[in-house]
Symmetry: D3
Subunit: 210 residues, 6 copies
C-alpha cells in the first residue's frame, strides 16, 4: 500500500496505544506513588534498559549477623516491573546463614535453589508447619502473608532465586520488627511473652532502643 | 554484629521498602486521585495519626428530615485507609429515624447494632426481599450495589457501626438522587411512574428544582 | 399492564438474574472451596438468616493465657460474606489482656473501640513503629499483612469491633506459630535468635513439642 | 522435524495448557457457581458455539408496561463469557419506551445507539445529574453502580447495544425492587417518603403485595 | 425540613463523596498515568460530555492495505471510561477486508455484527481453532490475550461493534509487530521460521526496515 | 494456662481458619476448575509436598525443531500455586535454540539468565521493539500479553528461569497457532499476508493440515 495508506493505518494504532493505559507503566521513581504503584514514565522516554537489571548476578554480602543477604529486583531496582504483579530477588546464604522468620505483606513467593541445600518452611494460620530440605533444582511455594524462613542446610554457600506476586512485596523480618526499633521493651514483652532479659539482649544485638 | 553490619542489613531492607509500593499509601488529600485512590504521602511524612480517627465516637446530628445521621470514616476522614479496600461509618437513628433506600456503588457493607433495634433489609436483582429486625449485637451483610435500608425499630435511639469493602464506597440515596437536584419533573415521572404531584411534593421537601 | 405482560417483563429480569453470578454467593460451607471462596448455595435455598449473625453480641471467654478473646464473624460464621471482601470480629480484653503480635495474611483491618482503652500499633517493613492509646470511639487502621498488636490499657475490660477487607482474613499469632506446634526447638532458635531456654519455656506454655 | 519431535514439543504445550486455568472457562450452567463465576466445562467438551449467541439479532417484545425490552447476552445466554469480565445486551425502546431508573450492581456500562434517539443519564453520589440526548452512533458511559435511565426520544423505535464490565452485571430496576414484591407498604413509605396512595397504586401496577 | 437541615444532610453526603475515590475517575488526558489508569479530572470540571463519544457513528476509512478500519472508543477518545474496565470500538470491513491475526494484551473482547457477514475466530494455547461465519446480530467472545482475526465474508461492506474488558485493551497486529518496525530480518526469520524473501517482502509492504 | 484453656484459644483460631478461604488453596487437579483456578484440596489432605516441585532441576529435551525446551512449574505440576498469582518455568536453549515469537495470555513474565547468553525482546502495541543480549545474572521483564522471544546468543547451551504473574499463564507460540492445526491455508494467508507456498511449507513442518 502507499506510504500514505500505511500512515493512515499506523495512526489508528498509535492513537489507540497512546490513549491507552500503556502496555506497560515503567515507574517514574522520582514521582509520587498511587495505591497501584508509581506513576508511569512517558512512553517516549522508555528504553529497553527500563526492563533489565543486572544486580542479581552479583553475590550479596553475607558478612553480617544472619550470614545471609537478600538482593532485590523489586520495582525500585527494575522500574519496568511497575504495575505488573511480579518481581525477583536473590538469596545468598553463607555456611550457617539464615533468613529469619519473616513475611512479605504484599504477595506470595516461589523459590528455586540454584546451589547448595536450603531448609525452608512456612506456618499456616492453623499453626501447621510445612518445611523440608530443598536441593539444587527444587522449587517451593510460600503462600501470601504467612510466616516463613530459609536456613542454609549445606556445608558451603547456598543460592536461591525467589519470585513474588507483586512488584514490591515488602519484607518484614519478625526480629527486626520487634527488636530493631524503639518499641518499648515492656510492650515487646507484653505482646510476645518473652522474658525481659531476652528482649534486652536482642534489642542490643539488633540496634533497638527503649 | 557491628553497627556497620547492622546498617548494611538495614540498608537492604530500607532500599527494598523505599522502592516498594509502600506497605501503605496514606492519601495525600490535597493531591489528585487515580482510579485506585489518592496518590500517597511520602512515607517520611506519615505519622500514626494518619491511621487514627476519633469522629465515630461523636453522635451524629439527627435533627433533620430523616431523623438520622451517617458519620463516615472514609478515606477523606481517615487517609490511612487509602488503597486498603475498607472503611467504617456510624449510623445514628433517633426515634422514627430512617436511612432511606440507598446503595453504595463502590462496595459491600456489613452492619453491627451497638444500641437499640434496627429493621434492616436489601432487595436482590430478582426482586426478592431480605429483611429482619436486628437487636444489639446482631450483624447483617448487604451485598455489593444492592438497594438496602435501615429503619429504627426501637422506641429510643439506635446506633450501628457499618463497615464497607472500599475506602470510599459512596452513598446514593434514591430520594436525593431523584428529588434533590434539577432533574426535570417530567423526566423523573417517566423513569419512576410516580405521579406529578408526588414528584413535585418530594422535590419541594428535598430541595430539588425543575 | 396485564399480568401476562408483567410476567413477560419479570421473566426477562429473572432469566438474567438466574443466569448471573448471583448478586451474592452465600457459602455452601459443606462443599469445596475455590481460590475465590466457597461455592454458592442455590439462590432458592438462601434466606435472610444467611446474612445475619448474632455471635458478636456475646462477650468472648477471656479466662485464658492472653486474658483476651477473638470472636469472628468470618465466612464460616456468616456465610453471606462469601466472596464479598469483608468480615467482622469482636475483641474482648480483660484487665491485662493482650492480642499478641500477629498478622492477617488475607487482608487489612480497621478497629473501633467500644469500651475501655486499648494500646494498639503496627510495624512497617521499614521497621517503623506506629502505635497509640485508643479511647472509646477511636478508630485505627492496620494495613494489610503487617505485624500488629492490641493491649488493654484500661483498668477494666475493653471491647473493640474490628473489620477486615476479606471474608476470611486469617489470624496468625507469632507466638502460636513459633511455639504452639512441633517446629523443632533448634530450628526455632535458628530463625529467631532466641535462647534455647526461652524457646523451651514458651513451647511448654503454648503446648508446643520438639 | 520428525513427527516424534513434533509430538515432544506439542506434549509440552498441551501439558502446560491442560494444567492451566484454561485460556477460557466456559460456564457449566448446570453446575454450581463460585464467587468468580460458574465452574468450567471440560476443555474437551468446548465448541465454538459456546462463544457465540444469536439472540441479540432478534427485537425484544416491547408490548409491556415500559414499552421496552432488555435482551441479555450474559453468561447464562453466552457461557463463553464466564470469568471474562464482559457481557452485552440489546435495548429495544418502542415509542414512549423507557428503561426505568435502575442500577447494575455488578459493573459499569457503555451504550451505543444503533437506531433512533435516546435520552440517557445517570446521577452521582453527590446527586449531580449527567444526562443528554444521544443520536445514532453516539456512545455513553454509565459508571459502576450509579442510578441511570434510558428514555426513547424518537417518534419511532430506538435500539441500542450496551456492554457491561461483568459477565453477569445484574439489573435492579428501582420500581420493581420497591413495588414488585411483598415488601410491606408501610415500610416502602418509610424508606421512600412516598404517599400511601402512590405506593399502593404502583404495587397494583407492578404486581406487588402487602 | 428546613433548608438548613437539608444542607446539614447534604453536607454529609457531599463530604463523603468528595472524600471518596469518586464514583468515576474521568481521565485527565494531559496528565500522567498510573498502573490503574490516568489521574482523575477534578469532579467540579467534569461534564456529561466526558462520558459521551460520537466517533463510532462515522464509518472508518477502509482504503488501505487491509481494506478495513478500527475506530476506537478507548479512554483516549472517551475519558469517562478511565478506570472502569470497559471500552468499545467499531470495525469497518470493505469487500475483501481483513483484521489480521492480532491480540489485545489488556483484555477480552465480545463482538456483535451490525451489517454483513464476518468470519471470525481465535486459537487457544492448546492450538485448537474456534472460528465460524457470523451473520447480522450474531455475537462472539474472544477470550483474553488469545490470537484472533476477523475477515469480511460478505460481498459488500460489513460492520461490527466490539467491546473490551479494559478502557485501553491495546491492539497488537502480528504482521505489524514483526514487519512494521526495525526488528532485523535475520532475527524475524529466527523467531518465525519464515523464509528471508518472505520477510523482506512483508517488511517492504508494511514499512519495516533492517 | 491449662491445657483446657489452651484448647479454648486454639479452637477459636482453628474455627476461624477452617471457616476461611484457607491461607492457601492447593489445587485438586482431578476436580473441576473455576475462573479463579482449581477447587481446593481439603486442608487435612495437604502436605508439604503439595508446595514442592523438583522438575526444574532437570534439563529439558532440546532435540527438536526449536532446539529448545520449556519446562513448566505451573499449577498442574505444582498444585500449591493454585490461586496465588505466580509460577515458574525453565528454558533450555541448545546452540541455535529459539523460543519462537509467543505470548502468555494470562500474565507478565520476568526472566533471569543462569547460564550462557540470550537475545530476548518484546514488541509493544505501538510496534516499538525492545530487545537486548542478556548475560548470566541479567533479568528482563516482558509485560503482560505482548509478543516476545528468546534466542540463544551463546556458542553453548543457555539456561534461564522465568517467572509469571499467574499460576497458569498459558503459552501461545504464533507459529504453532497458525501452522500447527487445521486452520485452512487460505484463511491463514488472508490473516497474515503470507504467500501460499510459505504457509504450506510451515504447515508441513509443524504438523498442520488444510
Amino acid at each position: 500500500m502507499s506510504i500514505l495508506q500505511t500512515l493512515i493505518l499506523f495512526s489508528l494504532l498509535l492513537s489507540a496505544s497512546h490513549a491507552a493505559v500503556q502496555d506497560f507503566c515503567v515507574a517514574d521513581l522520582m514521582g509520587p506513588q498511587s495505591p497501584s504503584g508509581y506513576l508511569c514514565k512517558k512512553e517516549s522516554a522508555v528504553t529497553v534498559n527500563d526492563f533489565i537489571f543486572s544486580g542479581l548476578g552479583v553475590p550479596g554480602n553475607t558478612t553480617n549477623l544472619i550470614k545471609a543477604a537478600v538482593t532485590t529486583a523489586f520495582v525500585g531496582q527494575l522500574p519496568g516491573l511497575n504495575g505488573l504483579g511480579i518481581s525477583l530477588a536473590r538469596l545468598d546464604l553463607a555456611p550457617g546463614g539464615v533468613i529469619p522468620i519473616h513475611t512479605h505483606p504484599g504477595g506470595s513467593e516461589v523459590l528455586i535453589v540454584l546451589q547448595g541445600s536450603i531448609c525452608a518452611g512456612f506456618i499456616s494460620s492453623a499453626n501447621n508447619v510445612y518445611f523440608k530440605n530443598l536441593n539444587k533444582g527444587d522449587s517451593m511455594v510460600f503462600p501470601q502473608g504467612l510466616l516463613h524462613f530459609q536456613v542454609n542446610a549445606a556445608k558451603g554457600p547456598s543460592i536461591a532465586i525467589v519470585s513474588f506476586s507483586s512488584p514490591s512485596p515488602g519484607l518484614q523480618i519478625v526480629d527486626f520488627a520487634l527488636f530493631g526499633n524503639n518499641l518499648p521493651s515492656a510492650l515487646v514483652e507484653a505482646i510476645t511473652f518473652l522474658d525481659d532479659a531476652q528482649v534486652k539482649k536482642l534489642k542490643a544485638l539488633l540496634g533497638g532502643t527503649g
